[in-house]
């Protein structure tokens, strides 16, 4: 297993895309914190702004870091097929499950390190602007931030699974962008149409929508007149997102074991 980890670490650390994707992710999330700081520097720092500054706008619906790290997740296996390196890789490490496990461990570790680094940088930005970060280590902010790290991690795992399932980069990218941004938004929007009210109970099962509840500070207030979505709690919703990632990963893993390389 150590050999496989050493292989995967060399693989990910000798790719330029790893650095610019991580860099872009950190730059954008830091940018959001700086913008918030500039815009709201004269207002008192409330829990809402603090959370959004720390997660780089993710709770606002734009999970930048998760998206950039998910591309690294897609590349983990997608690149191997896109460039044909899966053949030398498997002649170097023929135990397929060990290879996938090593790839997963490295991607998960990288995601956690980068996510916490991003939160640390943004905490620094908050301290520079407001000179304080009240309630950072207390509920509900601490819970929302843990939820944010979990959300990013599951998002990346979905990307990893899609890259392995589709055995390529473009189709996995299309799915990971299309699904949360377009498909889920459309279903959510259509649920407001009275004639399509049968979509209402579906909404709470939409994986990315459910996952986003992990990082919410307080239950999001819907505008008056909205249908009753009867959303699950933070952890149950997160569980739905995790289950979705697990299904994709399991399917991809089983197929990877069965298919010709």
């Amino acid at each position: 297993m150590l050999d496989a980890l050493r292989f995967e670490w060399t693989r990910i650390s000798t790719l330029r895309s790893t650095y610019w994707l991580t860099g872009m992710g950190l730059l954008v999330t830091t940018g959001v914190a700086v913008l918030l700081g500039v815009a709201a520097r004269n207002e008192p720092l409330d829990a809402e702004i603090l959370t959004m500054a720390l997660n780089g706008g993710a709770s606002f619906g734009l999970p930048f870091l998760a998206v950039f790290m998910a591309i690294i997740g897609i590349f983990a296996c997608g690149h191997e097929y896109r460039h044909g390196t899966i053949q030398p890789t498997l002649t170097s490490l023929p135990q397929r499950s060990r290879l996938i496990l090593a790839k997963l461990i490295v991607v998960v570790a990288a995601t956690l390190v980068v996510t916490f680094a991003s939160m640390a940088i943004n905490t620094l930005v908050v301290y520079i602007v407001w000179g304080e970060a009240p309630g950072l280590f207390e509920d509900p902010i601490a819970t929302a931030l843990i939820g944010y790290a979990l959300y990013t991690l599951i998002y990346v795992l979905v990307g990893f699974g899609l890259g392995l399932l589709f055995r390529g980069v473009p189709s996995a990218l299309v799915v990971i962008f299309l699904m949360p941004l377009i498909i889920e938004s459309i279903i959510f929007g259509l649920a407001f149409v009275p004639a399509l009210d049968w979509l209402v109970p579906v909404v709470k099962f939409l994986p990315f929508t459910a996952g986003a509840r992990l990082m919410e500070l307080n239950p999001a207030p819907f505008p008056p007149g909205s249908p009753d979505f009867d959303l699950f709690s933070r952890w149950t919703s997160g569980g739905i997102f995790a289950l979705f990632a697990a299904l994709i990963l399991t399917a991809a893993w089983i197929l990877f074991k069965k298919r010709d390389a």
Partner: protein, 314 residues
């Protein structure tokens, strides 16, 4: 030593590899011959467990998938350019080496050995096919393995490169290694290989040494030239030989050269040439695999030839 037993692979309705069994001995270069699409690459992928199928391949008694740090025992070159375009050649090899506990110093060593020392920090995107093949060989040699599996390693190499590859493989074989190298370039194999495994449409056509293959699949012919060989042709036919006329010569098959000479001598026919013509490996290969070729192109037909009968009808 490689022992392949009952290798079988089918894609839906097509059987790509049909129960192939063969041994590849150490100390010699074994050529793996077959026309395009005959299942050479699929066989090699089956041997390495990249493709799933039936049968079993043992490398010195072990299945590939069970070997710990396999690059140290079996080196493989299967595709021409399996490299990430922006990762330097050296880093590509470092990555594979890392999975098999091979030190970076060995990476530099093999890159020097294959002649890529000056461009090792360049990206393989800019490599020519010939350079990519050299990098592929460097990859196969990383772990200094006892066994090498190379799929068309001379593809894209210039004559100098082909010569070099041939010498390298022969040297490696003389060190007691097991070398299994596929090709559809038969002239190449004639110079490189000692043993042959010949397949067509996934089935075994021949397994043995090169000379036997040539002998088995070629008819040697006797060329007879002289000022007046017309009467001799009749005599030879009477002896049961096939006689064809080629320019000013007779091409005799089915009779030994000594017998032809004797007949000419007793008939008092003046000869200017009496020689044996041996078919090349190329021709042997054509006759051996002719019936089993997967993709057969039609013979080119000249427009004038097809137009002629119509002209006559008019």
């Amino acid at each position: 030593m490689i022992t392949a037993k009952g290798l079988y692979k089918r894609y839906r309705k097509t059987v790509a590899v049909d129960h192939l069994s063969f041994d590849v001995r150490p100390g010699v270069v074994t050529g793996f011959l077959g026309p395009n699409g005959s299942g050479k690459s699929t066989t090699m992928r089956l041997m390495l467990g990249l493709d799933h199928g039936e049968g079993e391949t043992l490398f010195d008694g072990k299945r590939f998938g069970t070997i710990r740090r396999p690059m140290n025992e079996v080196g493989a070159l299967l595709e021409a350019k399996p490299f990430h375009p922006t990762r330097s050649a050296r880093n590509h090899l470092r990555m594979l080496a890392a999975g098999n506990r091979i030190p970076d110093s060995r990476v530099d060593e093999v890159m020097e050995f294959v002649g890529l020392g000056d461009v090792k920090r360049k990206k393989p995107k800019g490599y020519s096919l010939g350079m990519a093949q050299r990098l592929g060989l460097a990859q196969a040699l990383l772990g200094d393995p006892q066994t090498l599996l190379l799929d068309e390693p001379t593809n894209g190499l210039d004559p100098h490169g082909i010569h070099w590859m041939r010498d390298v493989l022969k040297t490696l074989a003389s060190e007691g290694r097991t070398i299994f190298v596929s090709s559809h370039l038969l002239s190449e194999m004639q110079l490189m290989a000692d043993e042959l495994v010949v397949i067509g449409r996934g089935t075994m056509i021949f397994n043995g040494d090169v000379d036997t293959f040539v002998r088995e699949f070629t008819q040697s012919q006797v060329v007879v030239r002289g000022p007046d060989t017309g009467s001799l042709a009749e005599t030879l036919k009477a002896e049961g030989a096939d006689v064809a006329t080629e320019a000013d010569a007779l091409v005799v098959s089915g009779l030994e050269i000594g017998k032809v000479g004797h007949l000419a001598f007793t008939a008092g026919v003046e000869l200017h040439e009496l020689s044996t013509r041996r078919a090349s490996l190329e021709e042997a290969f054509m006759s051996a695999t002719g019936a089993s070729e997967q993709f057969v192109a039609k013979e080119p037909v000249r427009a004038a030839d097809t137009a002629a009968p119509e002209g006559k009808a008019l």
